[in-house]
């Protein structure tokens, strides 16, 4: 769950962001507390607090006095935009680099993506039919 070589507080913040993006943590819902995050990931509470503080600074979470942290309205949109901007760097660049190594050009990639995406659609509809 936790990977080496990256700051832990960033990974904690990302795990909360992931829950917001996939909808399991809705806007205006109560976010996990620092202590809950620390206990779940078995990390130092100060590190978890740093991750939560980062999300608060970004406007993803806000504090209700005496109750806890909540997901801010508009948080999902904000995070989706951020992730879309980072998508090319995080996913397309390594894809292109590996493709180049294997002698696959952009056209080959395009074809591969269409084939795979088609297969995904097929399995999803199959799943729904069941």
């Amino acid at each position: 769950m936790i990977e080496e070589g990256r700051a832990l507080f960033l990974q904690i913040a990302e795990s909360v962001e992931d829950s917001i993006i996939d909808g399991s943590l809705a806007e205006e819902a109560q976010a996990p507390s620092t202590n809950e995050l620390a206990a779940f990931y078995r990390i130092n509470p100060a590190t978890a607090a740093k991750g939560v503080a980062m999300l608060t600074d970004k406007g993803v979470l806000y504090k209700r006095r005496g109750i806890g942290m909540f997901v801010a309205p508009g948080a999902r949109e904000l995070l989706m935009n951020e992730r879309r901007t980072a998508f090319a760097d995080r996913f397309v660049e390594p894809l292109l680099a590996e493709a180049r190594k294997l002698g696959l050009g952009p056209e080959d990639l395009e074809q591969l993506i269409r084939d795979r995406a088609g297969a995904h659609v097929a399995t999803t509809t199959e799943g729904n039919a069941r």
């Binding site: 080496e4 070589g5 700051a7 507080f9 130092n44 740093k50 760097d89 680099a97």
Partner: protein, 304 residues
């Protein structure tokens, strides 16, 4: 979170045993309510530092302040500290309840309920004399005292000997749980660096009696990277960077460099077909201490 005030201040501490310098002009501070990892090789000086801080050993020179006071024969300081050491001795006939009873008398914040819970967790036999216990059971006695004493400063000096992976995880989990509810300062000395790396907020690395790293653990996590790939491409990339380790296999080189990689670095690496692998805290410390051992003390400031 840390409040910024220090519970321990060490200035120019030196400890000499005849002609061996165990601790060499060391200065550092320990913040209140923070979990520290005190890491380093055997004989690096970890136990010596901890025993001086707990007044079980004398400094050759330098100044040690705990809660702003001298710890020697100072009951006001000593009853606020708990030192769990690997070689703790107990009276011959002592049962666990005697050891816990003594701890209860000595530590004002001792919690009976917590101790009972921990005895249960570690499945510690209550009717076995401590002298007859296995290495793991003996370690469990120390760990229980360390956690249940809720001392303001607790030192654990390699408390895990003989504990299996499950028991060690119980120790880490219970320590973290109780620390969350009752924040206090913990100094944990360990060789199992990757096991404790998520637990410790700050890392102190001691090597040959000197502090070679004193930083927030999270800041160290992306401090170094392994660059792997074609040797000439790797060499071109690492030119001008600080290299702390190098391995090669035929045409392939794996080089550990210090310094976080920028986005531009990563693009350059991808374009050159080089792979980046993370460096765990354990690898980083092993390589730092190997490096310091291999070359002179000039490397000592490398990670500051």
């Amino acid at each position: 979170m840390t409040t910024g005030n220090n519970v321990i201040e060490v200035k120019n501490l030196t400890k000499r045993y005849r002609d061996v310098v165990a601790v060499d002009d060391v200065s550092f501070t320990i913040e209140k309510d923070t979990i520290y990892g005190l890491l380093g090789r055997n004989g690096a000086g970890k136990t010596t530092v901890m025993s001086i801080l707990t007044a079980q050993n004398f400094a050759t020179s330098g100044d040690v302040r705990v809660f702003g006071m001298q710890p020697y024969e100072n009951a006001k300081v000593l009853s606020r500290m708990c030192f769990v050491r690997e070689s703790q001795k107990y009276p011959d006939d002592a049962l666990p309840k005697h050891a816990f009873g003594a701890a209860k008398l000595f530590f004002p914040a001792w919690d009976d309920e917590l101790a009972a819970q921990l005895i249960d967790d570690f499945q510690l036999p209550q009717k076995t004399r401590i002298k007859k216990m296995s290495r793991g059971q003996l370690s469990a006695v120390g760990v229980i005292i360390g956690i249940a004493s809720r001392a303001e400063i607790t030192f654990f000096d390699e408390p895990y000997l003989g504990l299996d992976a499950v028991a060690r995880q119980i120790f880490y989990d219970r320590l973290l749980e109780d620390y969350t509810e009752h924040p206090r300062t913990v100094i944990l000395s360990s060789h199992l660096i990757d096991e404790v790396s998520n637990l410790i907020e700050r890392v102190l690395v001691i090597d040959h009696g000197r502090i070679v790293m004193d930083e927030a653990t999270d800041a160290v996590r992306d401090r170094a990277a392994n660059i792997v790939g074609d040797a000439s491409a790797v060499d071109a990339f690492v030119a001008g960077r600080q290299v702390i380790h190098r391995e090669s296999l035929g045409n392939v080189a794996s080089v550990t460099v210090l310094g976080a990689l920028s986005l531009a670095d990563r693009e350059r690496l991808a374009a050159a077909g080089l792979d980046v692998a993370p460096v765990s805290l354990q690898q980083l410390i092993v390589r730092t201490t190997q490096n310091a051992a291999g070359s002179a003390a000039s490397e000592e400031g490398a990670l500051r």
